[in-house]
């Protein structure tokens, strides 16, 4: 095949792939929109009487934002640091391989199991009670292996030659990591952290095990306040058979979608400014 023909061939393949990707994205977006519309229709039916008429989401939204901040504060430094150590510094010994496989397995452990561990360790063991802090620590621990796995993938995709070139020019190990590797992998690391964080924020099971409050008269203002969050509030309202609560649960679901989108947007902005711009 002549060169122009091959180029035309790849061009056509690429066009097809792009169209396929567009269709897939469209289907996903349409499904999401349909979900939101169905939930909005349900929410629109509205609470009619009693307690459900003035139930609100302030406490749950505040709890979820607290959890997001705490989880990020724990999981990102620990996770990214561990990934940098594993990829850039640690010698590839048998112990390294063992550690790496344990970490990979931990990333696949179901969130419920972390909930049980959190209940024993933070709620009972450290005596934190079913508080925002205990929930944030549990979600943080749950997120660390995922952050490590995603960050390692990003670091591993940085070409070896970049490191050799920098070393050859006299840079120290840390200079190589800081100026070259981290900069090249930044977009991937931020993306990986975002994915792990958003998943943690949407998790209900570990928080239900720890003991999330289903009714509070106030929004949490400190991490020692009782644990509330959007996913657990949705669960609690779904469980109530009384009239009005199904609509509340639907409304809360829409709100959760918006809050997750908001968090995603903030993370996307960080990614845009610190990651992809430098590439």
């Amino acid at each position: 095949m002549s060169a122009p023909a091959r180029s035309r061939e790849t061009h056509r393949v690429r066009r097809w792939l792009r169209a396929l990707g567009g269709v897939a994205a469209g289907i996903t977006l349409a499904a999401l929109c349909m979900l939101a519309v169905v939930m909005l229709l349900n929410a629109g039916r509205g609470p009619d009487a009693g307690i459900s008429a003035h139930s609100g989401l302030l406490a749950a939204v505040a709890g979820t934002l607290w959890l997001a901040i705490l989880t990020a504060a724990i999981a990102v430094p620990v996770g990214v640091g561990a990934a940098v150590y594993l990829e850039e510094y640690a010698p590839r010994t048998r112990a390294w391989r063992f550690l790496a496989s344990v970490l990979a397995n931990l990333a696949g452990v179901p969130p419920v199991v972390y909930g049980i561990a959190g209940l024993a360790l933070f709620v009972r063991g450290m005596g934190l009670g079913p508080s925002i802090l205990a929930g944030g620590l549990t979600l943080g621990v749950l997120t660390v292996p995922r952050v490590i796995a995603n960050s390692r993938r990003a670091l591993a995709s940085v070409p070896e030659s970049l490191r050799w070139n920098a070393l050859a020019l006299g840079a120290t190990r840390w200079q190589v990591v800081r100026e070259q590797v981290l900069r090249a992998a930044a977009a991937g690391i931020v993306k990986g952290c975002s994915a792990a964080l958003v998943r943690a924020v949407g998790a209900a099971a570990p928080l239900l095990i720890i003991g999330a409050a289903s009714f509070t008269t106030f929004a949490p203002v400190s991490p020692s306040d009782p644990l509330t969050s959007l996913p657990t509030q949705i669960f609690a309202w779904t469980a109530r058979p009384q009239a009005g609560f199904p609509a509340l649960a639907a409304g809360a679901s829409v709100t959760l979608l918006f809050v997750m989108a908001l968090i995603g947007l903030v993370l996307w902005d960080i990614r845009r400014r610190h990651g992809e711009a430098r590439r």
């Binding site: 009487a49 840390w174 008269t217």
Partner: protein, 331 residues
């Protein structure tokens, strides 16, 4: 050229990563993060500002507890109240461990539980706050069953009961399998029902969907055409199109757990008082006292909207007297 030479020298003298990190940008980045985390941790540990009235216990009382908390918070926005459910057994256990301040209970505290409290050095006060019936519910689409006798209920729920299908219960009923929903063994409703119907507290078949949350029982029965369950009647205040309460032949004919039947005693074997237990140590706190006081004072009014039966006014008067007396004795 100079800066690089200096940093190279530093890197050669000490473990490279640690030292270089200490000299370079990392501390500048992580110092605020560490300070923030520290502040958060101290705020969490010095939790004196975060005083909260912690309410738990029976799910049969949950709708009323939530209504009272909501009512109090409407009048006093600074009230900090948390309501959760764990069943009567779990609630009283946590009360006696000091984990919560107030526990709802769908039966009086047992001697074993009282001993546990005494051993832990926790004194408590029990106040009856409302009454309800244990309702037998089926799906709204199930129109074949109008009334059950106590004998049939006993046969259905006794340990290793042979009743699997509706026909086993009564030959005229269809051959569909009965899917059973009921409270788990941490529930006061379970203790009460097994005692009255089967004859021994805790004696029950085990092959049914068990939960300490009445609300989930209602949801379960509402979702299954051939289901049957029993639960506190307040949780049945719901959409009539999904759930139907079955009458029980208590010896006064077929009786539904309506307000009148529960209060005049015609539903008597399956109606009960619901209690509020509060730790005396917590009661010395102003916020806890206010919550319990508001609970007793407004229970009659709020019972009507949440599906409970109010106690006679004299009972509430006695409860308020009891509270006032502990207030007088408290230092």
């Amino acid at each position: 050229m100079k800066p690089r030479a200096r940093s190279l020298g530093a890197a050669c003298r000490a473990p490279p990563a640690v030292l270089a990190a200490a000299r370079r940008g990392l501390p500048a980045m992580s110092a605020p993060a560490c300070a923030g985390l520290l502040a958060v941790l101290t705020a969490a540990c010095g939790g004196e500002g975060g005083r909260v009235v912690r309410v738990g216990g029976s799910s049969s009382l949950y709708p009323l507890s939530v209504a009272v908390a909501d009512d109090l918070a409407a009048a006093r926005p600074d009230a900090r109240i948390v309501v959760a459910t764990s069943g009567t057994v779990g609630g009283l256990r946590r009360l006696c461990e000091g984990g919560i301040d107030v526990s709802g209970a769908s039966r009086p505290i047992s001697t074993a539980e009282a001993a546990l409290c005494r051993a832990a050095g926790i004194d408590y006060l029990g106040i009856p706050v409302a009454r309800d019936g244990i309702a037998i519910v089926v799906n709204a689409a199930n129109t074949v069953l109008e009334c059950l006798t106590l004998g049939e209920l006993a046969r259905l729920w006794e340990p290793s009961s042979p009743v699997r299908r509706w026909r086993d219960l009564r030959p005229a009923l269809p051959a569909e399998t009965i899917r059973l929903f009921g409270p788990g063994s941490d529930s006061g409703t379970f203790d009460f029902f097994t005692n009255v119907v089967v004859g021994r507290p805790g004696a029950s078949r085990v092959d049914y969907y068990q939960t300490e949350d009445d609300n989930l029982i209602a949801r379960g029965v509402a979702g299954d055409r051939w289901a049957l369950g029993y639960l506190g009647s307040a949780a049945t205040v719901t959409d009539r199109t999904v759930l139907r309460t079955v009458a029980v032949d208590t010896g006064f004919g077929c009786v539904l757990p309506t307000g009148e039947a529960v209060s005049d005693g015609r539903y008597s074997p399956l109606s009960r008082d619901l209690y509020l237990y509060v730790a005396l140590g917590s009661l010395t706190r102003r916020d806890v006292y206010d919550f319990v006081h508001h609970f007793v004072a407004s229970a009659a009014r709020l019972s009507r909207t949440t599906g409970y039966v109010a106690l006679p006014a004299a009972e509430y008067g006695r409860g308020l007297d009891l509270l006032a007396r502990t207030r007088g004795e408290a230092p």
